[in-house]
C-alpha cells in the first residue's frame, strides 16, 4: 500500500503542477492558445487516473484555466470526485474549483447534495468550513431546500468558525429558498448576541442585507441594533448597522430622533472615511424622514455638508465621487445648504474623471432655480461644445433637458430661451438623443400655448435647414427633431408666417431619405398645412393660388407613394386621392377649404403616460371572461381555413370600394365621436375641467409680455439662446424696477402671486415673474383614475420573495424540509422527517462541550418566543416543554427590554406594548399551569403527526422531581446514542421571594448509573448549578449520567442544596429527590425505513412480547403521537389502524413495535434484541396508554 502510494507520487512528480502551468503559459506568450490546449489534453489524461492526488492537481490547474476564461464545464464530474476526497488538501481544491465553475445550470450539481451534507456534518471544522464556503458560491434552489436544515443546525455549532459561516450562508439560502426565512429567523436573531464577534458580525451582515430590501419587516429589531451600534467597535458592523438604520428611519421617524446624536458623535470621532460616509448618509436619511416639523437640525445638516465638502475636496477620486453622491441626497431636502457650495460643484464639472463630472451634473439638476437656470445651462452648453466623447456629450444633453424640464418646467421663466436652447442642441452631431429633443419640442409646443407662435417660427426655420440636420453622415439620432418640427408646423400651422414656403420645404425630394416614421409624419402634416393654406387662400379669394397649392401637392406627393415604408405609402396614396378629389372640386369652383380643414378640427391634448392604465375597471366587468366561448379544437381546425379565406375576400372587396368623399368622412367622424362619447373607455377630449377653462377665452386673455422688438426675433439661420439670456436679464431688470415702484405704493399687499405648482420656490425666485404667463396644460388623466402606483414595482425583483412578515407565528406548513432518504418514499409518516436532526442535537450535549452548551442554553432561554416554533420542528422531544417552562423568566426579560424600547421610541410602541401587556397575564397563567401539571404542554409544538384527527392533548416529557416552599424541580431525560449516556435536564423554578444561589446537586451513584462530574471531583462531591435564581424565575440545568445496563428502570437518590438569600439574611436549604430513569428514557428516536425494518423483523434474533390495553377512546393518530413523544419511537409505516414503530436504545438495542387499534383497545406487539428491556418498555407504555 505504502509502496503504491510512493509510486503514485513518483508518477506524479512529472506532472505539471499549478506553478509549472503558470510558468509555462508565461513562457509561451506567442502560442499561448496552443500551449493551453496541449495542457488541457494533459489534464484530461491526468483526470483519467485513479490517484486522487493526480486528479486534484489536474482540477487545480483547471481552476486556473477557468480564471483565464477557458470552459471547464466538461470536468464538472471530476470536480465532484475531488470534492469527495477524504483529505482536506484535495477537498479544498475540489470545492474551490466548484465554487469557481459551478452555476445553476450545472446539471451534476444535484449529485453534490449528499457529499455536501456529509461534509457539513464532518467532525473536522475545516471540512465543514470549506463545504460552506463552496456552497455559498453555487447554491441552487434545490440545494438550498435540501440543506437548509443542516445549515440551520450548524448555526449553533460549538465552533465560532463554523457558526459564522453557517450564519452568513443563510442569506444565500434565503435568496434561493425564501420559505426558509421564517423558520430560520429566530435563530438568526439569536446570533446577533453571540459571544463571538465574528458570528455577531455575520448575523448583522445577513440581517442588514435582508432588511435593506424589505425594511418594514425588521423594525422590531431596531432596539437591538441600537444597542449594538452604541456598543460595537467593529467598523464593519457599525457600517452595516448604520446602513440598516438608514433604511429603517423612513418607516419609523421616531427612530431617527434617537439616532441623530450617536451618529453625530461618530461623525466627529471616527477617522475611517467609510464609516464617516455611512454616518453622513444615514443622518441624511434621518433628516429626510424628519423633514417636516423638525426645525433645529440645521446644525447636523451643516456638519454633514461640511464633512462632505472635505470629501469632495479630497484628491482621491473615490472620495470625491462619494461626497458628490451624498451631497445629491442632501440636495433633495435641503437644497439651500448645498446651493452655497455651487462653486465647488461647478468646479467638479471640469474634473478629468467622467464619472465625477456626471455626479456633479446630477447635483446641478437639483441646484437650479429660476434665478440661475440660464446661467447654469449656459455653462453646460459650453461643456457640450467642448466635450470630446459622445457618451459624455449625450449625457450632458439629457441633463440639460432634465434640468430644464424638471417638475413641469418649474424653473423656466422664458420659454423662447428654452426653445432656442433646444434648437441649438439639434446642431450636435451624432447624438443618440434626437428623440429626447423632439419630445421636448413637442411637449413645450403643445403645453405652453403662448409659445406656439414662436415655436412654429423656429421649427419652420429648422425645416428650412433640414438638410443640415438630415445630411449629416450619421443621420441616426438627430433627424428625430424633424419629426417634432414637422408636426408642430403642421398642427399649429395657423401661426406660420409663410406657410407656402414651409409647405415647399416639407415636400422636398430630400425628405424621402428620412426614416419611414418621420416621412409618415411629414405626409400627414403636409395635409394639415395644405388645409390651412387652402383656407387662407379661399378666404382671400385667391382661387388660383389655391389651385396652385393643390397642384404642388399632386406633383410632389407621388414621391411618398413610392416609399418603401408601408405607413408612408398608405398615407400618401390616401392623401393623394383626397387632394385629387379636392382638385376636381376646385375646378368646379366649389369651396372646399372648410371641409378639408374639418379633417383636422379639434385639438390634440397631452395625455399622461399612465392614463390608459389608470382607467378604473367598471364594476361587473370581468376582463378575463370570454365574450364568446372559444370554439373547441376540432371545430376550429375545420373552420379556420374557410374563415380565413372568407375574410380575405372581404378585405379585397373593401379595397375596391370607391374613395369616400369628405361628407362621408365627416359623417363617419361625427358618428365615431358620438360613439366615443358614449364609450366610457375612450379618453374624451373635452371634459377635463382645466382644459375647458383654457379653451374658453382662447389664448388671447393671457397677458403676453411683448418681446422687445428692437432685437429682431427672427434671427437669420438658427437662433442663439444667448440673446434670450440677455433679453431675459433686461426684462428682469425692468421688472424689478417696476416692482420697486409698485412696492412703494402698496407694501405687502401682493406677494401671493399665483403659482403654477404647489412647490415652494425660494424667495429670490418669487421675484422673477415668468416672461410668458403660461399655463402649462397638465396632462390628461381619465376621470376617477386610480391613484395607485403599484405598477412601479418590478415583479422580477428577487428580493421581493423575501418580503415576509417575520413577526407572525410560524405555521406548520412553513417548516423546513428535513433530510429525507430517497428510497423512503413509501414511509409517509411525518415523524420520520424530524428524526435526523434530533439525532444530531442529542449528540451535542456531551461531556466536553457540556459547559459551553449550558451557557448557550441559558442564553437561548432569553430569546424570543418564535424560537419555540423552530425548535419544535427539530427537537420535539425536549425543547417544546422546556421553552414553556422557561417562559416566566423570558417574560421578565422581555419586560425589561420593552421598557427600554419605550424609552427609545415613545408613542408608537405604547400601543403595541399595551396589547402585549393585556395578553401577558393570560400567557403567564398558561405557563404556570403547565408547570404544575407535568403532563400538560401545548399540543402545537409536537410535530409527530398531522393533527387532522382532532385535538391532541398537551404533552410534556417533564415530570415533577421534587418541590418545597423555595423551589420546584421538574426533569426530563434524553438519551444520546453514543457512550451510553443520558442527559437529565432539570428545570429549577424559584417559588420563594428570595434569591437562590450556590445551588449544588449531589446524587448517590449506583453501580449502574453514575453522574458525570467535572474532572478531579470525587464521587461525593455535588455538581454546582451554573446559575442563580432570582425570585419567580426558572432556569434549566443539564446533567449527564453514564449508564451501564439499560434493561431495567433505575432510581437514584439525590439532594439539591442551595442558599436562599433575602433581605433578612441567608439560609441554607436542602431538597431531596429521586431521579427515575425509565427504560423509555434510554431510547432515542431514530428513523428507520420500511425495508430495513422488515429485514430486522425477518432476522429472527429478536425476542417477542406483547401487551393489550382496553378502554381507549383516543384517536389512533394521537395515540401514535403520544407513544412517539413519551417513548421516543418513530413511525415506520402506518396502514389504517395499524402501525409499525421503531426505536433504538442508547446501547444499540433495536425495538420494533406493531401497534394495532381495535374498537376500544390497543394491542402492542414488540420485538427487541433484549427481552427484559422490551418487557419493561411495554410496561411503561401500558401505563401511558392507560391514561388515554
Amino acid at each position: 500500500m505504502a509502496l503504491k502510494m510512493v509510486k503514485g507520487s513518483i508518477d506524479r512528480m512529472f506532472d505539471k503542477n499549478l506553478q509549472d502551468l503558470v510558468r509555462g503559459i508565461r513562457n509561451h506568450k506567442e502560442d499561448e492558445a496552443k500551449y493551453i490546449s496541449q495542457c488541457i489534453d494533459e489534464i484530461k489524461q491526468e483526470l483519467k487516473q485513479d490517484n486522487i492526488a493526480v486528479k486534484a492537481n489536474a482540477v487545480c490547474k483547471l481552476t486556473y484555466l477557468q480564471m483565464l476564461g477557458y470552459d471547464i464545464s466538461w470536468a464538472a464530474f471530476n470536480i465532484i470526485e475531488v470534492m469527495s476526497a477524504s483529505k482536506f488538501t484535495f477537498k479544498r481544491i475540489g470545492y474551490l474549483a466548484a465554487s469557481q465553475s459551478f452555476h445553476e445550470g450545472t446539471d451534476v450539481i444535484m449529485l453534490t447534495t449528499n457529499q455536501i451534507r456529509k461534509d457539513l456534518s464532518s467532525p473536522s471544522q475545516y471540512d465543514t468550513g470549506v463545504a460552506l464556503t463552496g456552497l455559498s458560491c453555487f447554491v441552487t434552489p434545490d440545494l438550498a431546500r435540501d440543506l437548509a436544515n443542516d445549515i440551520m443546525t450548524l448555526m449553533s455549532h460549538t465552533k465560532p468558525y463554523i457558526r459564522k459561516k453557517a450564519v452568513l450562508i443563510m442569506y444565500k439560502v434565503f435568496l434561493k429558498y425564501p420559505e426558509s426565512l421564517r423558520p430560520a429567523f429566530p435563530r438568526l436573531k439569536e446570533k446577533l448576541e453571540d459571544p463571538d464577534p465574528g458570528v455577531q458580525s455575520a448575523a448583522v451582515n445577513v440581517i442588514c442585507e435582508l432588511a435593506r430590501r424589505n425594511p418594514k419587516n425588521y423594525l422590531s429589531l431596531a432596539p437591538l441594533f441600537f444597542k449594538l451600534m452604541t456598543s460595537s467597535t467593529n467598523n464593519w458592523v457599525l457600517i452595516k448597522i448604520i446602513k440598516l438604520f438608514g433604511a429603517l428611519t423612513p418607516l419609523e421617524p421616531r427612530l431617527g430622533k434617537k439616532l441623530i446624536e450617536p451618529l453625530t458623535n461618530l461623525i466627529h470621532s471616527t477617522s475611517a472615511m467609510s464609516l464617516l460616509y455611512e454616518c453622513v448618509n444615514t443622518v441624511i436619511a434621518v433628516l429626510i424622514s424628519l423633514s417636516s416639523g423638525m426645525p433645529n437640525h440645521s446644525a447636523s445638516i451643516q456638519l454633514c455638508v461640511q464633512k462632505l465638502r472635505i470629501l469632495i475636496e479630497d484628491s482621491d477620486q473615490n472620495l470625491k465621487y462619494l461626497g458628490l453622491l451624498a451631497m445629491s441626497k442632501i440636495l433633495k431636502t435641503h437644497p439651500k445648504s448645498v446651493q452655497s457650495h455651487k462653486d465647488l460643484i461647478l468646479q467638479c464639472l471640469d474634473d478629468k474623471d467622467e464619472s465625477i463630472r456626471l455626479r456633479a451634473l446630477d447635483l446641478l439638476y437639483g441646484m437650479v432655480s429660476k434665478k440661475n437656470l440660464m446661467e447654469i445651462v449656459k455653462k453646460l452648453m459650453t461643456h457640450v461644445d467642448k466635450a470630446e466623447g459622445t457618451t459624455y456629450r449625450d449625457e450632458l444633453l439629457t441633463k440639460i433637458i432634465d434640468i430644464c424640464s424638471q417638475s413641469n418646467y418649474q424653473h423656466i421663466t422664458n420659454f423662447e430661451w428654452y426653445i432656442s436652447i433646444l434648437v441649438e442642441l439639434t446642431r450636435l452631431e451624432g447624438t443618440r438623443h434626437g428623440h429626447l429633443i423632439a419630445a421636448q419640442m413637442l411637449d413645450v409646443a403643445i403645453r405652453v400655448k403662448a409659445i406656439r407662435k414662436f415655436a412654429v417660427s423656429q421649427m419652420s426655420t429648422l425645416l428650412d435647414n433640414a438638410h443640415l440636420v438630415a445630411s449629416s453622415t450619421q443621420r441616426n439620432g438627430i433627424c428625430e427633431v424633424l419629426y417634432a418640427a414637422t408636426w408642430i408646423c403642421g398642427e399649429f400651422s395657423e401661426h406660420l408666417q409663410e406657410p407656402q414656403h414651409t409647405l415647399e420645404a416639407m415636400l422636398r425630394p430630400k425628405v424621402t431619405t428620412l426614416p419611414g416614421h418621420i416621412q409618415a409624419v411629414y405626409v400627414q402634416n403636409v395635409v394639415k398645412l395644405y388645409a390651412s393654406i387652402l383656407q387662407q387662400k379661399e378666404q382671400a379669394a385667391e382661387t388660383e393660388a389655391a389651385q396652385a397649392v393643390t397642384q404642388l401637392m399632386i406633383d410632389r406627393l407621388p414621391q411618398f407613394v413610392q416609399s418603401a415604408d408601408l405607413e408612408v405609402q398608405e398615407r400618401a396614396s390616401c392623401i393623394l386621392q383626397l387632394v385629387k378629389h379636392v382638385q376636381k372640386l376646385q375646378a368646379k369652383a366649389v369651396p372646399v377649404a372648410e371641409e378639408v380643414s374639418a379633417l383636422f378640427a379639434g385639438e390634440l391634448n397631452p395625455v399622461a403616460p399612465k392614463a390608459q392604465k389608470k382607467v378604473p375597471v367598471p364594476e361587473g366587468l370581468d376582463l378575463d371572461a370570454w365574450i364568446n366561448e372559444p370554439l373547441s379544437d376540432s371545430e376550429s381546425e375545420d373552420e379556420k381555413p374557410k374563415a380565413m379565406f372568407h375574410e380575405e375576400e372581404q378585405r379585397q372587396a373593401k379595397h375596391r370600394l370607391p374613395e369616400v368623399d369628405e361628407e362621408e368622412l365627416a359623417r363617419r367622424r361625427e358618428a365615431r365621436k358620438q360613439e366615443q362619447a358614449n364609450n366610457p373607455f375612450y379618453i374624451k377630449s373635452s371634459p377635463s375641467p382645466q382644459k375647458r377653462y383654457q379653451d374658453s377665452p382662447g389664448v388671447e386673455h393671457i397677458p403676453v409680455v411683448q418681446i422687445d422688438l428692437s432685437v429682431p426675433l427672427k434671427v437669420p439661420g438658427l437662433p442663439l439662446s444667448d440673446q434670450y439670456v440677455r433679453l431675459e436679464e433686461e426684462r428682469r431688470h425692468r421688472q424689478r424696477l417696476e416692482k420697486d415702484k409698485r412696492r412703494k405704493k402698496r407694501r405687502d399687499k401682493e406677494k401671493k402671486g399665483k403659482r403654477r405648482h404647489g412647490s415652494l420656490p425660494t424667495e429670490s425666485d418669487e421675484d422673477i415673474a415668468p416672461a410668458q404667463q403660461v399655463d402649462i396644460v397638465t396632462e390628461e388623466m381619465p376621470e376617477n383614475a386610480l391613484p395607485s402606483d403599484e405598477d412601479d414595482k418590478d415583479p422580477n425583483d428577487p428580493y421581493r420573495a423575501l418580503d415576509i412578515d417575520l413577526d407572525k407565528p410560524l405555521a406548520d406548513s412553513e417548516k423546513l424540509p428535513v433530510q429525507k432518504h430517497r428510497n423512503a418514499e413509501n414511509s409517509k409518516s411525518p415523524e420520520k422527517e424530524d428524526v435526523p436532526v434530533v439525532e444530531k442535537k442529542s449528540k451535542k450535549p456531551k461531556k466536553k462541550e457540556k459547559k459551553h452548551k449550558e451557557k448557550e442554553r441559558e442564553k437561548e432561554k432569553k430569546k424570543e418566543k418564535e424560537r419555540k416554533d423552530t425548535l419544535s420542528v427539530n427537537t420535539h422531544t425536549d425543547t417544546a416543554p422546556k421553552d414553556e417552562v422557561v417562559e416566566p423568566r423570558r417574560e421578565a426579560q422581555d419586560e425589561e427590554d420593552e421598557d427600554q424600547d419605550q424609552e427609545k421610541k415613545p408613542s408608537k410602541h405604547k400601543k403595541k406594548h399595551k396589547k402585549e401587556k393585556e395578553e401577558r397575564p393570560k400567557d403567564k397563567k398558561r405557563s404556570r399551569k403547565k408547570l404544575l401539571g407535568s403532563e400538560e404542554a401545548p399540543g402545537e409544538p409536537v410535530q409527530n403527526g398531522a393533527l387532522e384527527e382532532g385535538p391532541l392533548p398537551p404533552m410534556s416529557s417533564y415530570s415533577l422531581l421534587a418541590e418545597n416552599s423555595y423551589i420546584k424541580m421538574t426533569y426530563g431525560i434524553q438519551g444520546s446514542l453514543q457512550d451510553s449516556q443520558v442527559t437529565v435536564s432539570i428545570i429549577l423554578e424559584n417559588l420563594s421571594g428570595s434569591v437562590l444561589k450556590s445551588m449544588e446537586l449531589s446524587v448517590l451513584d449506583s453501580l449502574n448509573t453514575r453522574m458525570a462530574r467535572p474532572e478531579g471531583s470525587s464521587v461525593h462531591d455535588g455538581v454546582p448549578v451554573p446559575f442563580q435564581l432570582p425570585p419567580g424565575v426558572s432556569n434549566e440545568a443539564q446533567f449527564v449520567f453514564t449508564v451501564q445496563s439499560i434493561v431495567m428502570a433505575q432510581k437514584l437518590k439525590g439532594t439539591l442544596s442551595f442558599i436562599a438569600k433575602d433581605d433578612e439574611g441567608a439560609t441554607h436549604e436542602k431538597l431531596d429527590f429521586k431521579l427515575h430513569f425509565s427504560c423509555s428514557s434510554y431510547l432515542t428516536t431514530t428513523p428507520c425505513y420500511s425495508d430495513a425494518f422488515a429485514k430486522l423483523l425477518e432476522s429472527g434474533d429478536l425476542s417477542m412480547s406483547s401487551i393489550r390495553v382496553d378502554g381507549i377512546s383516543m384517536s389512533f393518530q394521537n395515540l401514535l403521537t403520544k407513544i412517539c413523544f413519551h417513548h421516543h419511537f418513530s413511525v415506520v409505516e402506518r396502514v389504517d389502524s395499524c402501525a409499525s414503530m421503531y426505536s433504538r436504545s442508547i446501547q444499540g438495542h433495536h425495538i420494533c413495535l406493531l401497534v394495532k387499534k381495535g374498537e376500544n383497545s390497543v394491542s402492542v406487539d414488540g420485538k427487541c434484541s433484549d427481552a427484559t428491556l422490551l418487557s419493561n418498555v411495554l410496561e411503561e407504555m401500558k401505563a401511558t396508554l392507560a391514561t388515554c
Partner: protein
C-alpha cells in the same frame, strides 16, 4: 454584495485601502505571502482564493479581524501539511528541482582534474 475584488498595485498602495480601512484583504495577503507582489498572486492563485474565502464568503464579508483570518489560514495550512506527510515529500523535492532551471547549468563542469559531462537536459516544463 461583493461581486469582485480588484487589487491594484498603485505604487505599493492598494487604492481602496484608504477608504475601506477595515477591509483587510490586502494586508492579509501581505502577511501570508510576506510582502506580497503580483507574481505571488499569479503563481499561487489557489492560495489567494483560500485567503479570500476566509475574508469574503459568497459575496459577503465574513471576517474583518486580520489575526483571526491569519490564524485560520495557518491552521488549514498545518492541516494540509500534516496530511501531506511522507507521500507529498517527493513532489516537493521535484518542485524544488524544477525551480533550478536546468538548461542554465553548464554543459561541462570542470573541478580541478575532474571533468563532468552533463547530459543534455531539457527544461522540465
Amino acid at each position: 454584495m461583493i461581486q469582485a475584488i480588484l487589487v491594484f498595485n498603485n505604487h505599493g498602495k492598494p487604492r481602496l485601502v484608504r477608504f475601506y480601512q477595515h477591509f483587510v484583504f490586502v494586508e492579509t495577503l501581505d502577511k501570508c505571502f510576506e510582502n506580497v507582489c503580483e507574481l505571488d498572486l499569479i503563481f499561487h492563485m489557489d492560495k489567494v482564493h483560500y485567503i479570500l474565502q476566509e475574508v469574503v464568503m459568497g459575496g459577503m464579508v465574513l471576517e474583518t479581524n486580520m489575526n483571526e483570518i491569519v490564524a485560520q489560514i495557518e491552521a488549514q495550512n498545518r492541516l494540509e501539511k500534516s496530511e501531506g506527510g511522507l507521500s507529498a515529500a517527493p513532489a516537493r523535492a521535484v518542485s524544488a528541482v524544477k525551480n533550478i532551471n536546468l538548461p542554465e547549468i553548464p554543459r561541462n563542469i570542470n573541478i580541478g582534474d575532474l571533468n563532468i559531462k552533463v547530459p543534455n537536459l531539457s527544461q522540465f516544463v
